[in-house]
Every structure is written in structure tokens, then in C-alpha cells.
């Protein structure tokens, strides 16, 4: 089984690290193969950031992801740009406060999470990416809870370890509950606000 994943958002959201943690979990803590690439670019300066992750039980030959099985978006831009690329019947994970889902392809399985809010509740907006990893882990099952946890341990500075472990677990639990009550895309509540401020 080969899974192509894209995680996209702004620079500074830790998009790359979330892909790194996930890939690391597969490559080092499960006996799979993972290849992570990222889109750099001057825009990376606070602009768009995105990482591609290919995980497989075979060595990965082609490193890039054109049509992901799974797309994780943490920004409106990312949503608009990458959603059309998702494979027929693919999965879409969304940061619900940052993304307003317009004309969403019907074939997608969509799961939303207020990752930023959760992170802020935990006291550090920074950890929204780890919340996302937890959410990804439970929703997709592409990688095991333990492997992810181990990868989180590897990658975060010691002094923020507990916070990050909490963040991961919150994300994971949120996904679990969501699965229990089944999915549904939510209407973004802040649309008006955006439109207003736009004129």
C-alpha cells in the first residue's frame, strides 16, 4: 500500500514539522518507507508552505505528490490551491477556523478540527501542527498512535515535550470522537467577517 499525502498551510504553522513527524513515525518507528519533500520558494517567507509525504511498504521511487490520497489544509489558500488535486474519493483534513470550504468536491471525505483554538487552549498556538498530527493519525490510521507518539518525542525540544504530547493526544481524541459521530463538512462561521473586512 502506497499513500500520498500533502500537508499545506502558511509558513510558521509548522506544516513541515507535522509532515516530518508523520514520516519519521513510519520510517523509524514502523518498518515502512517514507519520503518527505517540501515546497520552498520566496513565498515561504510567511506565505504558503506545503509538504508532501509518500509512505509505503516498498522503497519510494517517485518523491513528489501530484494527486494526494490525503490532503491536510491549514489555510484558505492551501484549501483553494490543493483541494482540486485530491484523488477521487480521497480524504481532506481541515483547520476549520482558518478555512472556509467553498464549492467542495462531493467525492471527498472531509474532517474538520479547530486545531488552532485547541492549541491556544493548550497555551501555545505553535503546537497546532502537532494537534493536526494527532488528528491525522486517528482519522487516517495511516500510521500507528505509538509510532507517532515516539516521533513526536524525537522531534520536539525537551522543555515543550509534555505540551506537545498533550497536543498530539487532543488531536487524536478529537479525531476519534469525530469518527464515532461520523463526518460532515461544516460551514465556516466567519465568512461574513472576512467579506466585511474586505471592503
Amino acid at each position: 500500500m502506497l499513500k500520498e499525502i500533502r500537508i499545506a498551510g502558511f509558513g510558521g504553522q509548522g506544516v513541515i514539522l507535522s509532515a516530518h513527524i508523520t514520516g519519521r513515525a513510519v520510517a523509524l518507528h514502523e518498518n515502512g518507507y517514507a519520503t518527505m519533500t517540501q515546497n520552498y520558494g520566496p513565498e515561504a517567507r510567511g506565505g504558503a508552505a506545503s509538504a508532501a509525504l509518500v509512505i509505503s511498504d516498498q522503497p519510494v521511487l517517485f518523491p513528489y505528490v501530484a494527486n494526494p490520497d490525503i490532503l491536510v489544509v491549514l489555510s484558505q489558500e492551501a484549501f483553494t490551491r490543493f483541494t482540486p488535486e485530491v484523488k477521487e474519493g480521497g480524504t481532506l483534513l481541515v483547520e476549520e477556523d482558518l478555512v472556509h470550504m467553498e464549492n467542495l468536491p462531493q467525492h471527498l471525505k472531509v474532517y474538520s478540527i479547530p486545531a488552532t483554538r485547541i492549541a491556544e487552549e493548550l497555551g501555545k498556538k505553535m503546537v497546532l501542527n502537532v494537534v493536526m498530527v494527532g488528528f491525522f493519525c486517528s482519522i487516517t490510521g495511516a500510521v500507528s498512535y505509538d509510532a507517532c507518539l515516539a516521533a513526536v518525542r524525537d522531534c520536539v525540544p525537551a522543555k515543550f515535550l509534555d505540551l506537545n504530547l498533550k497536543a498530539f493526544d487532543r488531536g487524536f481524541q478529537f479525531g476519534k470522537e469525530l469518527l464515532e459521530k461520523g463526518t460532515k463538512p461544516e460551514m465556516d462561521t466567519e465568512t461574513e467577517a472576512i467579506l466585511e473586512s474586505a471592503n
Binding site: 510567511g46 489558500e77 467577517a193 473586512s197
Partner: protein, 81 residues
């Protein structure tokens, strides 16, 4: 009646807060709303205090705001001198 006002292009704004901080009469505040890029653009909270001095415009690194003075009442034409 304020002496001037500002024009804001919210979509250009990156929410840096320069305009808010350096407005001499504290006319501006960042709104809680996001623009499409996810930033909080400014809006006027005390429009009557705006002198149209355009310091906000001088500071705005993204050309998203500028101030302009109202002409001295004769003819309501709105626009920079």
C-alpha cells in the same frame, strides 16, 4: 467632522500593526476578523480623530492603507490631495 480619513485594502493587509501603533491619534485598531490570507486588517475606531496625515500609509509595508485629508468642505470630492 474629521479632517481626513483612510482607505484600507484589507486583502493586502498582513496584520503587522504598524499603522495602529504609529497613528499619532490612535484612530486604528486591528479587527478581529480575518482576511482571506488569515490576517487581521485594521479598521477605524475613532474616525473623527483622523487628521488624514497618512503616517499610517507611510508605515504600511504592504501598501494596504493610506490616509488623506478632506478638502476644506468646498466640494465633497474624496481623494488624496
Amino acid at each position: 467632522m474629521p479632517k481626513g480619513s483612510v482607505a484600507i485594502t484589507a486583502e493586502r493587509c498582513k496584520g503587522c500593526g504598524f499603522c495602529v501603533e504609529f497613528c499619532p491619534t490612535h484612530v486604528l485598531e486591528l479587527s478581529s476578523a480575518f482576511n482571506a490570507k488569515g490576517y487581521h486588517p485594521p479598521h477605524m475606531i475613532t474616525a473623527e480623530k483622523c487628521s488624514g496625515c497618512n503616517l499610517c500609509g507611510m508605515y504600511c509595508p504592504d501598501f494596504a492603507i493610506f490616509g488623506y485629508k478632506f478638502p476644506d468642505l468646498k466640494g465633497g470630492k474624496v481623494g488624496p490631495a
